[in-house]
């Protein structure tokens, strides 16, 4: 199969106005993705499906990624010459910048005809609050329908052009998006035998420790009724 760069170059020859970028995967799998722009996404998907050399006829997986806003600290080193004539000093300056957050949808494509894959497509929303739409690829691969509904349900990405965009796992009146990083689950903490980390903080809120003067009581849960 062609490399992702070769696919990108062929796509750019076919769609000269498309904005494509290769998103490198630094892991050992090295499955690099192709970031598409919204305008050409459906046409590019259709091209990848119908191109005789690629024939990516199966969309095996659609998933979402939440990229929250991230503060990035960049350290730049610069040499400042010493006015007294000594050796030049190296000064580190730290600049902070806020990388805006977005939601990402990832498609894994395979070719059943040629037995190759995966080719990974990525789509990104404008932000995480109001511009959360991406074009749906369900018209190209029917298998995307339920999986895009799942991404809509758990991440809150809306797919324009999806034939039946409803929640699929949670109920219709549910308001949250549980797979987002900033999701706060309902506080129905009950009991944990060996709490640690975040659960220990919850345990401290729900069951404050006794006064230090009191003798240490045994933390034994009552037996379940019945």
């Amino acid at each position: 199969m062609e490399s992702i760069e070769q696919i990108r170059d062929r796509l750019l020859a076919q769609f000269p106005r498309a904005q494509l970028a290769v998103v490198a995967n630094p892991g050992p799998a090295a499955q690099h993705g192709l970031l598409l722009d919204h305008e050409h996404a459906a046409a590019i998907a259709r091209f990848l499906r119908d191109d005789p050399a690629l024939r990516l006829d199966q969309c095996s997986n659609v998933t979402g990624i939440d990229w929250p806003e991230k503060e990035i600290v960049e350290t730049t080193k610069s040499t400042v010459p010493d006015p007294a004539g000594g050796p030049a000093k190296v000064v580190e300056t730290k600049t902070k910048r806020l990388q805006p957050g977005c939601l990402e949808v990832v498609y894994h494509l395979y070719s059943v005809t040629h037995g190759h894959g995966p080719v990974i497509l990525r789509l990104r929303t404008g932000n995480r609050t109001d511009a959360v739409a991406v074009p749906s690829l369900t018209p190209v691969w029917r298998a995307c329908e339920f999986q895009e509904r799942e991404v809509f349900d758990l991440f809150g990405v809306t797919f324009t052009g999806h034939p039946d965009l409803r929640r699929i796992l949670m109920w219709d009146g549910f308001k949250d998006f549980p797979m987002r990083k900033d999701y706060v689950e309902p506080d129905d903490y009950e009991w944990e035998p060996t709490p640690h980390g975040a659960v220990l903080e919850k345990a401290k809120v729900h069951y404050p420790a006794p006064a230090p003067a009191a003798p240490a009581p045994t933390a034994v849960p009552p037996p379940p009724a019945g």
Partner: protein
């Protein structure tokens, strides 16, 4: 039931009754007859939720043969069932349906929470979408731990339930739920809320355990 003996003054001890039985004289009471009949014809609801249901199905098949204990008749309708085996993960989306099934079962009815998920949420306890134990909404008679419990464990739970039924008093304040006139027999079904089930548990059935945390913990 007016001639049922009260629990205060047994007319005959168990040892005397067993001795008479050895000589071919069967003495019984209405209570004994009633609980004996109830305990040996516990018909489960044909209802499974997750992998525990596979073990429940195995228990009903020839190798483990739940028919030995009078429970082979898995009823497809809650109207004809005595026992709700909550066999598997109860998601928050499924919980109202489970409680609705429980409400539709006629008394006397019993509930077995089978497996870690039905007891407490199990491995999904920290998740957003799983009910942390069916006993938050309906009364549970027998808890069977395991993930999933083996069919033998389910059979053991069933025998424990039978022992429990045999110990029921049919009169007096210790009588089971369905013989108490004050009991409405209806358990409120939670609504789907914006963030969670509403209410998240039935306060008449379940309250959060109060645990005093030790300084070390």
């Amino acid at each position: 039931m007016s001639d049922a003996p009260t629990s205060a003054a047994p007319a005959i001890t168990d040892a005397e009754r067993a001795e008479l039985r050895r000589h071919g004289i069967l003495l019984t009471s209405l209570q004994e007859l009633y609980t004996w009949g109830c305990s040996h014809s516990v018909w489960p609801l044909n209802f499974g939720l997750a992998c525990c249901a596979i073990e429940m199905i195995a228990a009903s098949m020839a190798k483990f043969d739940i028919a030995r204990f009078g429970s082979e008749v898995f009823r497809p309708s809650p109207r004809q069932a005595d026992l709700l085996i909550v066999s598997g993960t109860v998601t928050k989306k499924m919980a109202p349906q489970v409680i609705r099934l429980w409400n539709q079962m006629p008394e006397p009815k019993y509930c077995i929470a089978m497996g870690a998920c039905a007891i407490s949420g199990g491995p999904f306890k920290q998740g957003y979408n799983v009910l942390k134990g069916i006993d938050r909404f309906i009364p549970v008679d027998i808890y069977i731990p395991g993930c999933p419990p083996r069919p033998e464990a389910l059979l053991h739970g069933l025998v424990q339930l039978q022992e429990k039924i045999k110990g029921f008093q049919i009169k007096g304040p210790d009588a089971p739920r369905h013989l108490q006139t004050a009991d409405a027999g209806e358990y409120p079904v939670p609504e789907f809320g914006a963030h969670d089930l509403e209410p998240p548990h039935n306060p008449a059935v379940w309250t959060a355990p109060t645990i005093v945390r030790s300084e070390k913990g």
